[in-house]
């Protein structure tokens, strides 16, 4: 297993390199330059040129890429000029908030999705199955930012049960109950679509497994039906559910950007949007690479979990 993990980590290197190249290219090619963005449109050409030199933007693109990459490898992501602090500090701080939101959403959509899928499959065509199928369809069809706005209208503006936005109350907040009150709506809004997708695929995976001979064997042995479903069948179905979880984690992470904007959540998604608007190149590049790397490593973790679950996978 150790060798397998090492192998997967090594195979991630070209992926990560590819990501840095793409991010760098996109940021170099988008119109608008940072110096103008910083100095405003009335800046003199001399000042713009001087600032470009200070930012290292006068060098050829390839050279700039390697300087950036080399620095990143030593842990130096550069300095954000718009925030005037090291990029990495800002990312780590913001990513913590994103992790709280996306992590909660991911746990929610995994648990709810699998639960709904298993119950649906175990009661195929029954009332529970039909109800779940309907709810899932609605969940998949409504865009998360719209759902988020509707939730704000209902629960925050109309009913005043929950705070409208933010992560903590400005006055007197900061403890766990306060965080949870702020977290409920964005986490649910973010989880909705993924829950639907996971529920649908879990149902399909379970139905497939329930047809298998080894399920009949378990029943013929006299194993309790609850154990047949939640043990034998779900365990086998997890082999095809886990990769779906990996993919959905990516969707949750990218969907967090919208939700962070709708709910004013101080996460990495909002940071990136601000940084793009300000042409804060290093902050955008660093942020995207950081998030992408997290996703790549998460997927390796998913594959490892898969290999631990299924002895037939050659490791």
């Amino acid at each position: 297993m150790g060798g397998y993990i090492a192998k997967r980590l090594i195979s991630a290197i070209p992926v990560l390199l590819g990501i840095t190249i793409i991010v760098f290219l996109i940021m170099s090619l988008i119109p608008g330059d940072p110096a103008t963005a910083i100095l405003g449109s009335y800046a003199t050409p001399e000042n713009v040129e001087k600032l470009n030199r200070d930012l290292g933007l006068d060098k050829p693109m390839v050279q700039r890429y390697f300087i950036w990459l080399g620095n990143m490898l030593t842990g130096d992501f550069g300095r954000s000029f718009s925030l005037n602090r090291p990029v990495l500090d800002e990312i780590v701080e913001r990513f913590g908030a994103t992790l709280v939101l996306a992590g909660t959403s991911f746990v929610l959509c995994s648990l709810l999705g699998i639960l709904a899928g298993v119950v649906s499959a175990a009661r195929q065509y029954g009332a529970a199955d039909k109800l779940i199928t309907l709810v899932v369809l609605i969940g998949i069809s409504v865009p998360s930012f719209f759902l988020g706005m509707m939730m704000i209208l209902l629960f925050a503006v109309e009913l005043r049960w929950l705070p409208v936005s933010g992560m903590y109350a400005i006055y007197g907040g900061g403890d766990l109950p306060d965080l949870l009150r702020h977290l409920i709506m964005p986490a649910l809004a973010l989880a909705a679509v993924a829950t639907g997708v996971i529920a649908r695929l879990s149902r399909a995976a379970m139905l497939e497994v329930l047809r298998q001979d080894y399920i009949r064997t378990a029943r013929a042995k006299g194993v309790r039906e609850s154990r047949v479903i939640w043990g034998h069948a779900l365990r086998a179905a997890m082999v095809s559910i886990i990769p779906v979880l990996g993919i959905q984690a990516g969707f949750v992470l990218s969907g967090a950007v919208y939700i962070e904007i709708v709910f004013q959540w101080p996460g990495v998604g909002r940071m990136l949007v601000d940084a793009i608007l300000k042409r804060d190149l290093l902050l955008v590049q660093g942020g995207v690479v950081f998030v992408a790397a997290c996703y790549v490593f998460f997927n390796i973790a998913v594959d490892v979990a898969q290999a631990m679950l299924d002895p037939r996978i050659k490791t």
Binding site: R216, T217, A220, K221, G222, V223, E225, H232, R312
Partner: protein, 308 residues
Amino acid sequence: MGTRVYRAVGGVSLSVRPGECLGVIGESGSGKSVTALSVMGLVASPPGVITGGAVRFEGEDLIGAPYETLRRRRGDRVAYIFQDPLATLHPLYRIGDQLAEAIRAHHSISAGEARERAIRLLNDVRIPNAGARIDDYPHKLSGGMRQRVSIAMALANEPDVIIADEPTTALDVTVQAQILALLDDLRRDRGLAIIFITHDFGVVAQLCDRIAVMYAGRIVEEGPTAAVLEAPAHPYTRRLIDCVPELGQGKRRLEAIPGLPPMVDALPEGCAFAPRCTKAVPDCARGDIALERTGTRAVRCLMPEESA
């Protein structure tokens, strides 16, 4: 969605005594597996439904019995062995755990005890090096070994009846012979009743005391193995036997019976075999034909073959 119920099996009545082996024989699609599964309520539902009948185990009717009663009998008093031993074992559980689970589904014993019993069971079915094998996953074992594990699992709670559904079909000939010998020993040593479901007359001849021939969901002939093989009374049985070279009394007719068994949703009236029968008379397609019993034998045919 249609709600028509197609009759896959009807009017089948089987019985087996302790220590006896009953062979149920027929082509694929003749309803033998459905019959076997329905005994313990294992017919997949949906789509399957059991609309009538009785399964009497030591006087207790199992059809229509509450789920919990059935579950307690399953694997404990009546155990199954299925066809494809790779598909019938759970791919993600170690075989020892699957065996232990079979025991612990019916007896509250510790994990350690269950493991010891599992090793003994593997020894009983002659798996070499059982103590090490027990921690293997099914895909590490050969087909024959896997089927031995399945048999061990069926034996786990010392059942009274084992229903074996084509247990040797997926195996090659040598392994098949070993498995048959094992089953034969087990029933003699333990007084097990075995219901052996197969399409292979050769297997039946080796193992079974009595046979029941099924066609299109019904029993068409029943009797002691030797007698039926020697003088089949039903034209269908006769043709089946002729298909088996070693049993075909030197005629070595290898070709299968012309035509196909009828689909369950299109059963003809009267004798279902009539379209393929060379001896059919007009009356055969008119009304139900009863299973006529004489002594130990029974046949469902208007024009039974002359006994030799």
